[in-house]
Amino acid sequence: MISRHPGSHRDAAKCSKSQIWGYKMSDRIPTTPKLAFSMQGISKSFGSVHANDQIDFQVQQGEIHALLGENGSGKSTLMNILSGIYKPDAGTIEVNGEIRIFHAPKDSIACGIGMVYQHFMLAEPLTVAENIAAGSSGFFLNHKKESTAIRAFSEKFGMEIDPEKPVVQLSVSEKQTVAILKVLYHGAKILVLDEPTAVLTPQEIQKLFNVLRKMRENGCSVVFISHKLNEVMELCDRVTVLRKGKSIKTYNIADTDAHDLADKMVGRKVDLSIDRPMPCCEMDGCIRVENLTVKNAEGHMKLSDISFGLCQGEILGVAGLAGSGQKELCEAIAGIIPSEKGKIFFRGTEITGKSPREIIRMGVSMSFIPEDRLGMGLVASMDIADNILLKDYSFQKGPFLKTAEVRIKAEKIVKDLEINTPGIFHPVRKLSGGNIQKVILGREINLNPKLLITAYAVRGLDINSSYTIYNLLNEQKKKNVAILYIGEDLDVLLELCDRIMVLCAGEITGIVDARTVTKEDLGQMMSGTRLKELKGVGEYVSNS
């Protein structure tokens, strides 16, 4: 290769073709590495919502590129366009320098783009090898050959997996590994991971990061979708920030820091610390659960032998991987599902076996926000006033609804919680996620509960709304309300709660003081290590 000498361009006209080529190459290589793919001017609207608005997004070969943005900023839409699920209204996609139009996901896969979704889309009864080989060409499946090939392939990326094991026996983290392995095995050079760490313990996250780094060494590109700043800072090479459907900027990680990214993500200065008032902990327990055992409708054990207490004016966090029994715990306390064994006492009165309505009347309030957010707790097509009526109407006398007082209450909740809506007769389904959550919490708080159960209260919320919710909870805590906070984000649990109870597969692995415990130890407990098996954690156990 001919390097560029000062003054050589004077002779450029006389240079041979190869010289010009070489001259250009030598100029470009160090500054702009080859692009894996490039999306330019991508726009996509759903009705009046501009999910993506002129987004530019470029990923180089052999880099881990974070796509950072709050919920609703357009990350998922952009990636669904990249994977061929949506068609953009405008804009072009180039893969390895060629313009491509994706009509269906298979076109995108053919270009070497592999998506790993939060739900892994694996056939549970089949083995790892069968799952991975599914969709490969050829009519027959050679189990032995596939297994060996998969084993070799997984070792290349530092993944430990037994190809002969049925997927149903794997842990969530292992299933994720299989999903990643599957797209790589089918020739993906560009891997898109949609919030992959949401379901993992801190230890499993480190394992995943190592795998992703191995992939980078092998020349693959990784798009890492996340809204967790510390993970982005730790793992990625570059980061593109999206906000309200627009691409704000692409940075080299070395040139930025978490605070700056948070500001860019939200669009203004944000304070990331959560207030934590000391609990007023009067020693009389608000709720006491003794040896609670719950089975689900199919007869699977969901909670086994759970015992814990909760004081007034205390926030007890519940940590655990998804599906460790959190849902059943909430529903058992609220009386929605029957318990197999055990007793639940609320202020000294046993409430086991009482109907949900009786329990509501005693002052137990549950704001349970399930994965689809509107499935339980709110009626999507009804307006705000009618939804606030949900808990109130049974207290009214006579067969007719008294809507006037509910309207006043609804107006007040909308005003107090700054719910962004055209009016109280607006269907909740048309509200944004944060406002929906505020409606539920507002209604529950308005009942002046003595116990507030809240599950995934900030799921899917932007940073600003999340902090509004934390403040609301803290206000209730100051009013001596006992709060059971089922959470997902360990950082938030550590900052908001007084104590943290860790669930693993329906059992309590430890109840610790949130002020002193470390994230790593929580992670250990989430994956099944009991508190007493951990070394030097005696100080975590608070006296309350």
Binding site: F46, G47, S48, K87, H103, A334, I336, S355, P356, R357, E358, I359, I360, M366, F368, L374, G375, M376, G377, L378, V379, A380, S381, M382, D386, L389, L390, K391, Y393, S394, Q396, P399, F400, L401, T403, K430
Partner: protein
């Protein structure tokens, strides 16, 4: 290439416009068909409208047809609110008639008309309610599929009435002709403004159903259960009780529709007594968006089609099958219009030269819903 994209929720006037346009489109299509068959579409339609609304007599007939349709649709709408798919309107109408007839046959002739009518009404309600409660009970307690169950109950009811018609209640006075004895004379519904007072029943029921759904606790519970049973459970509602109550109300009102038709216009129980009202009312309830006042209006329109169809057959010799086709086409396009309330069909820009990319034409498809109806249906 075409693709389907979800549309914004339209303002109310646009929704009404789209519905109106789709009905017009249905009329246009059936006009084409009538022309193809060799009749004059304009003459046919004007004869149809005059036949349905053109004279006092025509109007009376139309309203008489509309009454049982409206009451049945009001009843079904309650069940549909709970997403309980009550397809058993036919059976519930029949059982309402059977119970009412039983009362009439077994009460002494000296019973005052008012007492007899009230008793028959109660019996009609009871008959329909029982017929709906059976599938309702199994749905609530053993999660059977109510769609199939209510449908099958129709055939059982039909067989029962056939048995009564040919065997058990066969009137010996009819000289070998299979016929059930007519109800007592004083049980006939009185006539007000030319139509039997069933129209008042329909109006009152519409108000009751409207208030029930909108203004009572039970109605609220019915709405919540229909939208989301887990939410209802979470709010402390007894979902099973609410659903069973709603189903009983629904079936009872449908049974009452049967009694009104029996005592108002036909007077005699026969296997053909429903005149398909149980099925037609399903369509009415849906076209009306389960709203009680709109059900009244739509029932009259559907009844007008039925009444007008008889007239065009007599006057213009257009076979009544054609009238049925007209009905079907209008209903089809009305239901098809619902699609365009929710979705847009967007043509993708392609670089091929056969389709010059005209920005304006693209916009007009996605912007005006009236346009997209025609393009989508054609």
């Amino acid at each position: 290439m075409f693709r389907i994209a979800k549309k914004d929720e339209l303002p109310k006037w646009k929704v009404i416009l789209v519905r109106f346009a789709s009905i017009l489109f249905g009329i246009f299509l059936s006009g084409l068909l009538i022309a193809v068959l060799g009749f004059d579409p304009f003459a046919t339609f004007s004869a149809l409208i005059i036949g349905a609304f053109g004279s006092a007599n025509a109007l009376t007939n139309t309203i008489t047809i509309a009454i049982p349709l409206a009451i049945t649709a009001l009843g079904l709408a309650i069940a549909f609110r709970m997403k309980f798919w009550n397809i058993g309107g036919e059976g519930q109408i029949i059982m309402g008639c059977v119970f009412a007839t039983f009362v009439s046959h077994n009460m002494p002739e000296s019973t005052p008309g008012l007492v007899l009518i009230l008793l028959m009404g109660a019996a009609g309600f009871l008959g329909g309610a029982i017929w709906a409660m059976i599938p309702g009970f199994f749905r609530v307690f053993s999660r059977t599929n109510e769609t199939l169950f209510t449908l099958m109950m129709n055939y059982i009811a039909l067989s029962i009435v056939q048995f009564l018609h040919y065997v058990l209640w066969r009137d010996p006075a009819a000289k070998g002709f299979p016929k059930i004895k007519a109800i007592q004379l004083q049980a006939h519904l009185p006539v007000l403004f030319g139509v039997h007072i069933g129209w008042i029943v329909a109006l009152v029921l519409a108000v009751i159903v409207f208030l029930l759904i909108r203004k009572t606790k039970l109605g609220y519970e019915i709405r919540v259960v229909g939208e989301s049973a887990p939410t209802a459970n979470y709010a402390g509602m007894n979902v099973k009780k609410v659903m069973l109550t709603g189903v009983i109300l629904s079936g009872g009102i449908v049974g009452l529709a049967g009694m009104v038709k029996l005592a108002g216009s036909v007077y005699t129980l026969s296997p053909a007594i429903t005149g398909n009202a149980g099925f037609t009312a399903i369509v009415i309830a849906w076209l009306s968006g389960l709203s009680a006042p709109i059900i009244l209006v739509v029932s009259v329109l559907i009844a007008a089609l039925e009444q007008g169809a008889q007239v065009i057959q007599i006057k213009l010799n257009v076979p009544s099958a054609v009238a049925a086709i007209i009905q079907g086409m209008i209903l089809m396009s009305a239901l098809g219009g619902e699609f365009f309330l929710r979705y847009n069909i967007i043509r993708d820009k392609k670089k091929s030269k056969t389709l010059p990319p005209k920005e304006d034409s693209l916009k007009s498809v996605s912007d005006s819903s009236g346009d997209s109806i025609l393009k989508g249906d054609a």
